[in-house]
Amino acid sequence: MSIKITVTVNGVKHTDKVEPRLLLVHYLRDVLRLTGTHVGCDTSSCGACTIHVNGKATKSCTLLAVQADRCKITTIEGMANNGDLHPLQEGFNQCHGLQCGFCTPGMIMTAADLLQHNRKPSEGEIRTALEGNFCRCTGYHNIVKSVQYAAEKMSARKTKPKKEATL
């Protein structure tokens, strides 16, 4: 049995028939071939699969693809704007916030959600926001600095925080 879903991913509308048991992360990776979203565990613990669903950071292994029907999704592939990197993408490079890169998309998506709601997070607030995303390489030190870099950069641009979207 397959169910038809329509989702908008990174601004592009997709309609597909999917098995009801298909996880959203596998829909993104295997059906849409958006492989920037990663799978690191089977218990929704590691955060490597974090995306935005209707503007909110969500572990895409916690949803079935059918639950995302009619949702707006942003993945790491949709974070740059016409080739301009998102301040977080720039910050992770400037502050050496990544090594192997496997957790990086999830980290950026979680941090982006934080910065939508809190333009000037403290170090402690950043660490708390990221505690659901595992990194085995960096020791988190430079990830925290990367998020601070992006926060400062976004503040300097006087970007207003987006209104919180709901699922």
Binding site: E19, R21, R29, D30, R33, L34, T35, G36, T37, H38, V39, G40, C41, D42, T43, S45, C46, A48, T75, I76, E77, M79, A80, L85, L88, Q89, F92, N93, Q94, H96, L98, Q99, C100, G101, F102, C103, T104, P105, I108, E123, G124, I126, R127, T128, L130, E131, G132, N133, F134, C135, R136, C137, T138, G139, Y140, H141, N142, I143, V144
Partner: protein, 797 residues
């Protein structure tokens, strides 16, 4: 100069924090990990794995599964019984000279399962879901058998045998150092002996990318391609072709694309790599398998698992006079690729530490148990050695009521540079290359503000908290390794590295290295070295790695070896390019090659302003119209570099903790790390390596540990149960550096990948013990990880 401008060549690149060139693909979701690869006609594999630690396999019924939708083929242990198992790459001998026991590690088990997760059958299907569904429909009849999980009990009479042909479950017994009688005598004469019995607990490596393999076979060309999440593609190819499958090496291409962290766990040749390659030959279609996290917990080779009794003797002047160590090393159910060398040549050889201890003996019994195989995990043997020594030193200081800092200064090996002063010959086989051990401790104390902290310690108890300060001054053997030395110690491979530098006709440079980057940033640091040495822009250098088809050969990345060994191979090739370039330049400039000097990208006739650029010389090499006689065209050199010694990075790590007197909760307040890794090519990347290692080391001290029950079940085989270090567990780290160049490689580098994980663990545990002593709890040891409960119980008892 800007530190982020690949075009700038004004003042060299070595020593600068150049931002990583590889980042863009990772931050934009364009990394290409093995699981991202889907091949035409792709199939998928799933395994039937033993739920028991030790069980006889009575029957495997695939009759229902093989007719299920999408199922292509099912293989069981009987199908691969004639295929070799995966080999071990290091031979350790018993004390009596007998060869270690090497039971077969089959691709699928037919007779018995020997640990939870041992593979009984593989299902290949059109989709991953179909493979999983069919695997669940296979019915295996098991007869559960008694098992042994504790490394200290496996060799005892009556323990269940893991392999029928391995008596006492003993893979080998082994000793190193001074004769035991001499050590016993020195220990008996000691004025004070500090004794510590402890467990260096088993850890699960937990690279965030699970292992993944995608193997394919083309019958027309008789060629195989294996994409694998590995640290060393050529090693995998060699082991798989020559030792397991008996297929021709030149017909097999192994590719390690982007790899999502490894930490040692992706060095090893795992059964699934060979099995998928065997299966793809049978079915003629590509097969992919990606481990679930549960499989990663059950199958990725674990780390550590030593049970040790260690004694350190001191004279009246508090000089260390003897060290005696007895360790039981748990190797798990099978010998993993380098499992045998970790508790021996990577552990026993490091027990000199930074101290002048004149008499040392280490005795290791390595045993099989019904658990996941154990092998190298970040640091591999050196963290175990460092933990042992540094715990003893801090504990001895508490017992003798002296400052742990003073005790170290009294016992440190004096500074030596390995050039004007000779290397330091240890009692345990190694010769240290260069070191200034007191220097890193002095710097650490400065950064810490030691005297103030000791004053604060006296005050802290009033707030319900116990403040503790813990030290660790470590050394490691890296830059693995001189082939002749490791060969004499049992290695079944050379440990050189290969670096090819191909100058293109336009002067652009392609570099092929046998090292493999899985987070280390080689595409940046190696390009820094090449651009610096050739005086060209970093943008003009491209680093290639991870593919046996493009890279001549390689031993891969582990043991903090990439720059020290792989970088040195590249430098050798650059030297050859410059030498040949001088001949071409001399011909163009009508001068003698001996009179040409090369600097800043120009070949110049000494003492004149006559010069040609590197680019001109490159073009001439490929358009050799006006060209020296007897000189081949082209500008392309490959070099093998085999180091003459290990490198010996060292450092000082200091932890400051607060222990809650009511709950036992440990809070890490500060962490100071001063590391001397020799010369540094990219300080930003080295610091990042230290941060990551420190968190893995602190993870061992405070959070992590594989827990087996008596039935051999790994009871915390998920992220819900195994405590991974998280962002909110740590303060910002305070890092410092000292530079004592390596005297024996051309870059003077020592390696930075493992330092953090080696130095940090004992510093944190020492800090907690120090805190407890400051509160009057004279506790010698708390078993890692130091959970609130364990610390609370230690205070109550």
């Amino acid at each position: 100069m800007s530190t982020n401008n690949g075009k700038d060549t004004s003042s060299g690149f070595i020593g600068k924090s150049i931002k990583r060139v590889e980042d863009k693909r990772f931050t934009t979701g364009n990394g290409r990990y093995t699981d991202d690869i889907v091949l035409p006609h792709q199939t998928y594999a799933s395994f039937v794995r033993s739920p028991y630690a030790h069980a006889k396999i009575l029957n495997v019924d695939t009759s229902a599964a093989k007719h299920m939708s999408g199922v292509i083929k099912i293989y069981t242990g009987a199908d691969v019984a004639a295929v070799n198992g995966v080999p071990c790459g290091w031979q350790v001998n018993f004390k009596n000279g007998d060869t270690m026991k090497e039971p077969k590690h089959p691709l699928l088990v037919a007779d018995k399962a020997r640990h939870v997760g041992d593979a009984v059958a593989i299902v290949i299907a059109e989709s991953q879901e179909q493979a999983v569904d069919a695997a669940e429909a296979i019915i295996v009849d098991y007869e559960e058998l008694p098992c042994v999980v504790d490394g200290s009990k496996a060799a005892q009479a009556g323990a269940a045998l893991v392999h029928d042909d391995v008596p006492n479950n003993t893979c080998y017994d082994w000793a190193l150092g001074n004769p035991i009688a001499e050590v016993d005598e020195a220990m008996s004469a000691a004025a004070h002996v500090t004794t510590l019995e402890f467990v260096n607990q088993r850890l699960v490596p937990n690279a965030i990318e699970p292992r993944c393999y995608n193997s394919s076979y083309d019958a027309i060309t008789d060629k195989y391609i294996l994409y694998t999440s590995t640290q060393n593609p050529h090693v995998i190819r060699l082991l798989m072709c020559a030792f397991v499958l008996g297929i021709p090496e030149h017909k097999v291409r192994v590719v390690g694309p982007d790899v999502g962290g490894a930490f040692g766990s992706k060095i090893f040749h795992y059964t699934e790599e060979a099995l998928l390659t065997w299966c793809t030959r049978q079915i003629g279609r590509p097969i992919k398998w990606t481990a679930t996290r549960t499989e990663a917990f059950q199958l990725d080779a674990h780390g550590r698992d030593h049970i040790t009794k260690a004694e350190m003797g001191f004279d009246n002047d508090r000089k260390i006079v003897a060290l005696r160590v007895k360790t039981f090393a748990n190797l798990g159910a099978y010998l993993s690729t380098f499992g045998s060398c970790v508790p021996t040549y990577l552990h026993g050889t490091l027990l000199q530490g930074l101290y002048t201890t004149p008499k040392i003996n280490v005795d290791v019994t390595a045993v099989f148990t019904h658990t996941t195989p154990v092998d190298a995990y970040r640091g591999a043997g050196r963290p175990e050695a460092t933990y042992l020594l540094e715990r003893l030193v801090d504990l001895a200081a508490l017992e003798m009521n002296v400052d742990p800092v003073d005790l170290r200064f009294k016992n440190f090996i004096p500074p030596f540079d390995g050039v004007n002063q000779p290397g330091y010959q240890t009692q345990v086989a190694l010769q240290y290359d260069s070191g200034n051990y007191k220097g890193v401790l002095e710097k650490g104390l400065d950064m810490l503000g030691y005297a103030d902290l000791r004053n604060k310690q006296k005050e802290s108890s009033k707030n319900g908290k116990l403040l503790g300060i813990g030290f660790s001054t470590y050394i490691e053997a890296c830059g693995i390794a001189p082939s002749a030395v490791v060969g004499s110690l049992g290695a079944r491979a050379g440990l050189f590295e290969v670096g090819q530098v191909r100058v293109q006709p336009t002067g652009k440079v392609s570099v092929y290295t046998g090292a493999h980057s899985h987070g280390q940033g080689h595409e940046t640091t190696f390009a820094q070295v090449v651009a610096d040495k050739l005086g060209i822009a970093m943008d003009d250098v491209e680093i290639h790695h991870g593919d046996t088809e493009t890279v001549a050969f390689g031993m891969g990345t582990y043991g903090s070896r990439s720059l020290a060994v792989g970088g040195s191979a590249i430098v050798k090739s650059i030297d050859k390019i410059i030498e040949k370039g001088k001949k071409i330049a001399a011909h163009k400039l009508e001068a003698n090659a001996d009179d040409i000097e090369f600097a800043s990208g120009k070949f110049t006739v000494k003492g004149t302003d006559k010069s040609v650029s590197f680019g001109d010389v490159a073009l001439t090499a490929y358009v050799p119209h006006v060209y020296p006689k007897d000189l081949e065209p082209g500008l392309d050199f490959s070099s093998f570099y085999d180091p003459t010694n290990f490198t010996y990075p060292f450092g000082c790590h200091i932890a400051v903790v607060e222990v809650d007197k009511q709950t036992g909760k440990v809070e890490l307040k500060r962490f100071v790390a001063v590391d001397d890794v020799g010369n540094v090519v990219n300080p930003m990347i080295v610091e990042g390596q230290i941060h990551g290692g420190v968190v893995q080391g602190i993870g061992q001290a405070l959070f992590e540990g594989a827990e087996y029950d008596n039935n051999g079940q790994l009871t915390n085989a998920s992220y819900m149960d195994y405590c991974m270090p998280r962002a909110d567990d740590f303060p910002m780290f305070e890092t410092g550096t000292q530079v004592t160049p390596c005297p024996h490689n051309p870059l003077g580098v020592k390696g930075a990948g493992e330092a953090g994980a080696i130095g940090s663990t004992p510093a944190v545990v020492n800090a907690v013990i120090d805190a407890l002593w400051s509160g009057g709890h004279k506790v010698k040891d708390i078993r890692m990880p130091l959970t609130s409960e364990r610390v609370w119980r230690a205070m109550k008892n």
